[in-house]
């Protein structure tokens, strides 16, 4: 049976794939059909009715956004009758719409304004009694029901793409409105996606409100610098005050096809405002001359990493970055089995999936991009999602179909069990089959607490799945047995139809892991910190000995979770020293940092493309045309798996280093709008075990030192593991994310 449907639109022969609607085909063929409520990434809202078209031989109008074509049908997108009804609908939208365009945030980029003009609605006869409707203050978000046209886009994205499902339509005819779902006020992760998709000024950023007009702002396309999802965004800048310096007013994104979390949307003001003197610069050079090592974070570009690597070679320094080193080491083990350096999956693969296993990550907060992709898979494909972790996450309940709880530290055992289950009926090389045959499943199940029935349920729920993906997170990289876990993951990817995604911890963990040759961090003296701690600190964060620009103040590239090399652009200028200036002083000379873009290591998959030649846009059809995807790198194969080590036990009070929503690191920590919850959050059970109560001031003894926090009782949590944020401190958190810890109440 052919899956292609041939038909015509306005006389043009077109064809649809099964599942495509008339509107989708029209757009793909550059045929214009007006819409007010349609958004590509969700199911059709079907509320505006403007996209109605005519079909030959069919009485009445047909809605193009939710109707697939039939073979041979002739569609007409315009006629006097259609035009008449579209005009009438626009008239209806304009009934009692407040005439406050002069102060409305949306003015100038408002769909209602645009379409009212497009359809020439200059006057009308329709009228209805107006109603008093008050503006709702929902924290970072404001909702004005009087401006709302009830297109329902916000409700659709919140539920289908984000997964918060925090708002809904309150039905009531003319007085219909958007309300927080089952809550007095908005209780959500504040991604702000509802603001982005709102075609009018109904949903706006409370911070941006009344601060600037759309047409006054300059747009700088870039890539979000908070996590590794690599979301495209645009910084919108303008001078602040009269003749003031430029500042970022807001962030926008191409919401039609992509999403942003709240950190990306509201956490834009992490630019460095500190300036250093030439003496500071000299001191930095001195510090480097006597330094034994440079310690740095993954919050840097590939080009900066490249410079650091050059400095290492030139000055015979060590390079410390545990985050990237552990990631690199994990990927090298992976490569030894898979025979290639890069994993096969991507955010897109997750979105397309109908089965997924997530292991070793609190993914909703670790990487919202992955969470959104999982939400899409869950809602649109009915994906069965297994979430293997010692802690449940309430944010994921909407998405996850099976919570596979395992004991802290037993990740290797769990991975072996999962691999064994997935590979059951697969053809395997003898040695590998033997390896699995010899696994002591009883021991692994008993120690990890993952039962046979859970594995069987997983297999059963995946029975009809076509597109499967395995997602591995940061808990694993610093695990003692990371190397064998990586190999097991590679075996799954190689011998099943699962694709694999290994979620990098930070913005450019992946890039740094490829660019730099990293050393094991030792407790040396004479370490220069680059966006990290050391005796002399060069940083884009506050309190540096030498200040440099942050990621929204420089050009360069990062490598995202999709193995995609993405450009960053200068949203705000940084008038100060750069790493390149330092390198130049050591005779590693080039004019601009981005001159190194084309010199990035091709043996790791980088292409020799100059920065200025990198594209940075999404096509009108949603194709990602940003940067490039790393070339595959072939590696020598050795499929030898290690025996699963004895599974460790973690008793007593355990803390898990995991950030609250919208917080990732010290950059998000310094932004104005994002909430900064630095409490240790634990369940009642944890509180009882640690002998602490809600609101207590506590000291947590960790391997990297003592941290002072307030304890917060969190009703959503269970068990004896508490969540310890890391975004606000500079201590090294790149070890295994679970820690047995001593907690003392400060009296």
């Amino acid at each position: 049976m052919s899956t292609t449907i041939n038909f015509t639109i306005d006389g043009k022969a077109v064809s649809a794939q099964k599942g495509e609607t008339i509107l989708q085909v029209a757009r793909r063929n550059d045929i214009y059909i007006p819409t007010m409520c349609y958004i590509s990434k969700t199911s059709p809202c079907a509320s505006c009715r403007i996209c109605s078209v005519e079909a030959e031989g069919v009485d009445g109008f047909i809605l193009s956004c939710n109707t697939p074509p039939t073979e041979g049908i002739n569609i007409k997108t315009n006629s006097a009758e259609l035009e008449q009804e579209r005009v009438n609908i626009m008239k209806l939208y304009d009934v009692n719409h407040p005439l406050e365009c002069g102060v409305c945030d949306k003015s100038g980029e408002c769909d209602l304004q645009n379409k009212t003009l497009e359809f020439g609605v200059a006057q009308q006869n329709f009228s209805a009694k107006d109603q008093l409707r008050t503006v709702k203050d929902w924290g970072l978000i404001n909702y004005d029901p009087a401006l709302c046209i009830m297109c329902e886009k916000c409700v659709h994205v919140c539920n289908e793409v984000i997964g918060d499902d925090a708002i809904e339509v309150k039905f009531g005819g003319y007085s219909s409105t958007i309300i927080p779902k089952e809550s007095e006020t908005l209780d959500c992760t504040f991604c702000g996606e509802c603001i982005a998709v709102c075609p009018v000024g109904a949903l706006v950023s409370s911070d941006f409100k009344y601060s600037a007009n759309a047409w006054e702002l300059s747009r700088v396309p870039s890539t979000c610098a908070h996590c590794s999802a690599g979301c495209p965004l645009e910084y919108e800048t303008r001078h602040s005050g009269i003749n003031g310096d430029d500042s970022i007013y807001r962030v926008k994104n191409n919401f039609e096809f992509t999403s942003l979390c709240g950190a990306g949307r509201f956490g834009f003001d992490f630019n460095n405002t500190e300036r250093s003197t030439s003496e500071d610069f000299q001191k930095a050079l001195e510090a480097l001359k006597s330094a034994k090592a440079i310690r740095f974070s993954s919050m840097i570009t590939n080009e900066e990493a490249h410079i650091l690597q050059r400095l290492k070679e030139k000055l015979d320094l060590k390079l410390f970055n545990e985050d990237a080193r552990l990631y690199a080491s994990f990927m090298n083990s992976y490569a030894s089995v898979s025979g290639k350096l890069h994993y096969s999956g991507s955010l897109d693969a997750i979105k397309q999936a109908d089965a997924a296993i997530v292991i070793g990550t609190r993914i909703a907060t670790d990487n919202p991009g992955v969470r959104y992709a999982l939400t899409t898979a869950s809602k649109h494909n009915g994906a069965k999602i297994v979430y293997a972790h010692p802690m449940e996450d309430a944010l994921m309940q909407n998405t996850v179909t099976q919570f596979m709880k395992y004991e802290v530290g037993t990740e290797e055992g769990v991975m072996a069990l999962i691999a064994n289950e997935l590979l059951k009926n697969k053809e395997l090389p003898k040695e590998i089959r033997k390896y699995f045959n010899e696994l002591d499943l009883g021991y692994l199940e008993a120690e990890s607490n993952v039962g046979d029935d859970e594995l069987t349920l997983m297999t059963k729920s995946f029975a009809r799945a076509q597109n499967k993906v395995l997602i591995i997170g940061a808990d694993i990289f610093a695990h003692k047995r990371a190397s064998n876990i990586a190999k097991l993951a590679a075996i799954i990817e190689k011998y099943t139809d699962f694709s694999l995604v290994v979620v990098p911890n930070e913005v450019n963990t992946l890039g740094v892991s490829l660019v730099c040759d990293l050393d094991v961090d030792e407790d040396l003296s004479n370490v220069v910190g680059y966006n990290a701690h050391g005796e002399f600190i060069i940083s884009s964060l506050d309190g540096a000995d030498l200040s440099v620009g942050a990621l929204n103040q420089q050009e360069g590239t990062v490598v995202s979770i999709d193995n995609r090399v993405l450009p960053l652009n200068v949203a705000l200028p940084f008038d100060g020293y750069t790493l390149n200036d330092i390198a130049s002083a050591f005779d590693i000379k080039t004019k601009h940092t981005i001159d190194y873009t084309k010199e990035l290591d091709s043996s790791k998959g980088f292409k020799s493309i100059a920065f200025d030649d990198l594209e940075n846009f999404l096509s009108p059809y949603g194709d990602d045309e940003r940067g490039y995807i790393l070339d595959e790198v072939v590696c020598p194969v050795d499929e030898t798996l290690e025996e699963v080590a004895e599974l460790p036990e973690y008793n007593g009070t355990v803390v898990y280093h995991a950030n609250p929503v919208l917080q990732f690191n010290r950059y998000t920590a310094k932004t104005k709008q994002l909430e900064k919850d630095t409490t240790l959050r634990g369940s009642a059970q944890f509180a009882a075990a640690a002998k602490i109560a809600d609101g207590d001031e506590i000291k947590i003894h960790l391997r990297s030192g003592v941290v002072k926090r307030t304890f917060k009782l969190d009703e959503e949590l269970k068990g004896t593991i508490a969540l310890n944020p890391t975004f606000d401190i500079l201590v090294d958190m790149s070890g295994y994310r679970f820690e047995k810890s001593k907690i003392v109440r400060v009296v």
Binding site: L92, I149, T401
Partner: protein, 678 residues
Amino acid sequence: MSKVYFSTWNGESINNIGKPEEEWEESAYNLPAQYDDHRDSRAFIGWDGVALFSEDVDVIRLAMEYAAQYQEYSEACGRCAPGRWGGRILYDVLDKIARGEGEKADLDHLKEIGKSMQVTSKCEIGKTVPNPILDLMNHFEDTFIECINEKKKSKHYDETIGYIAKITAPCTDACPAHVDIPGYIEGVRDLRFDDSLEATRQTMPLAHVCGRVCPHPCEDACRRTNLDEPVSIMSLKRLGADWETDHGFDFFHPLEKKPSIGKKIAVIGAGPAGLTTAYYTAAEGIEVDVYEELPVLGGEVTVGVPEYRMPWDKYEKDIECVKDMGVNFITNRKITADDMRQFEKDYDAVMVATGTRISKKVRCENERPEIKGYWGAIDFLDWVNLYEKFDIRTPKSVQKQQMLKQDFVDLTGKTVVCVGGGFTSMDVVRCAIRANAKKVYMVYRRDEKTIIRNTTYEEYHEAVEEGVEFLFHSAVNKITTDKKDVLKELLIDKFELVPDPNGGRAQLVKIEGASYTIKADYLIPAVSQSADLDLLPEEWDIEMTSWATIKTNGKDYMTSRKGIFASGDCEYGPMTIVNAVGQAKRAASVISRYVQTGEITLTDEEIMEDHLRKLKVYDKKEKITGWLPGLPREHSAVLDVDDRKDNNKEVALGLTQEQAISEAERCMRCYYIAMVQA
């Protein structure tokens, strides 16, 4: 037929204006001229036109109130631009005219907005609301003009008049449980599966069950049939239920449990009717004790419907949902007449929902229950299902009587003959296949077409695939046993359908000389079931129907004894799950008022529901506009025959998400609003 003064219903044009009442022409439709026992209707207005039963109707206000009701009550409204603003404009402009402030141009505006709504609204409700309003403006133009010209109020503008409105849809109307089908399908379409499930649970607590094993009478009333094929309504119900279960959510109850009102009721039987009664009465704050004779809950759906059709782990969720509403269940407790006498004193009301659990005879020669190998369908299915679902073993007595070598039903090497033609018989033969019978026959008096109509296309074809041999136009004439009274042979008669020369119903006539015998080990009668009503005290003298079920008026489900209610199969006779649910839902509503007031009443909503059911919402001749025809119905995949016939794996896999979404997009949201002026 109803007596009307004026009617435009379904295109009819009856105008008795000016005629004396005895000369009035009658409407061809069952319009609700009498609202209830003590109220006449003055007017009826709905999607398909308007009917006036009296001369003294304020037609302007009628139109205005109809527009108002659309604004007020419509669940559908607010979901599209034309409906949301259009509805309000209709109301405002009609009100303006009715209060004497109208202008001529307003009539044009009404027509224009009415037309826009008709052609662009999202749901039928928005498309059809203007119909009767425009009818009234057309036929009573003078009345409108008069108000406008003389700037006067319409004739009853300031009076208090009762207007009663009701939302319906053809599918909802045809569903015995009146499930808000467009609502739950919209939930699927919007990927809001909690909303979908809550829409279902408003009137149907057994979402898993009726998303799987419902014979879906709704699909016979799906307007999409007029365009191409009916929407796969039943399968879409499963999505919400599966979503809740898959994600381990707490139960999504569509209604919040009210605080205790200090009343309690007993429900006899924990089948679909019992569960439904319990769910909705418990929600009203009534304490509910459910008594169940079997060791397990769920009634025939548990012990009758096999695992491969209705997996227990899913039905269990439906039952847990009922429990979650706060219901007490007492199992292993057979209720006697003495219990009932006591219950009448202890409880404020009693619901009898005991079903029909006695297998009727096939009526052949030598038919005796003591024959070894003669096995009633209900008993047979009990032991199959109790073993398969709960590992409850078949007791020695049954093993002996039915010659089982083990403590479960294993039919290896045996030939099984089932007489039936309905769902129960299908369950019997397919269970027999799974119990490894050598040969399975289904003996049925009528033909293939009829068996499909009585069950489903899928059910019949799956049985054939699995190896059941259907003997159509056949009946068992005689049972032959051996000396030990073990069943050995059956004499089968053949029949043919002889058309009635007078055009009446064709008659089945035996073909002489065509009879033959088949060797068989078991004869399982599954022709029908009757109710065991020994629990009803004789002295209560409860009125029965002619087919030996408990009699009620089919509206409030109270028996002839005050406070004793009956619903489900013991009231109706063996029927569908959804029928039992529908009856019990209504009864629960009646009971919740009865225990407080001692009165038997129906709500306006229920009265309207019955009126519309009588009028029939679905019109199979209606021509559909505004939808592209030719989009095929999605079918749920089924397990391959070799993967299913020797086990109890669920056969119907359900729609994939992609299929479900595209199926949901085929739904035309045929909500309608009707209103009576009483």
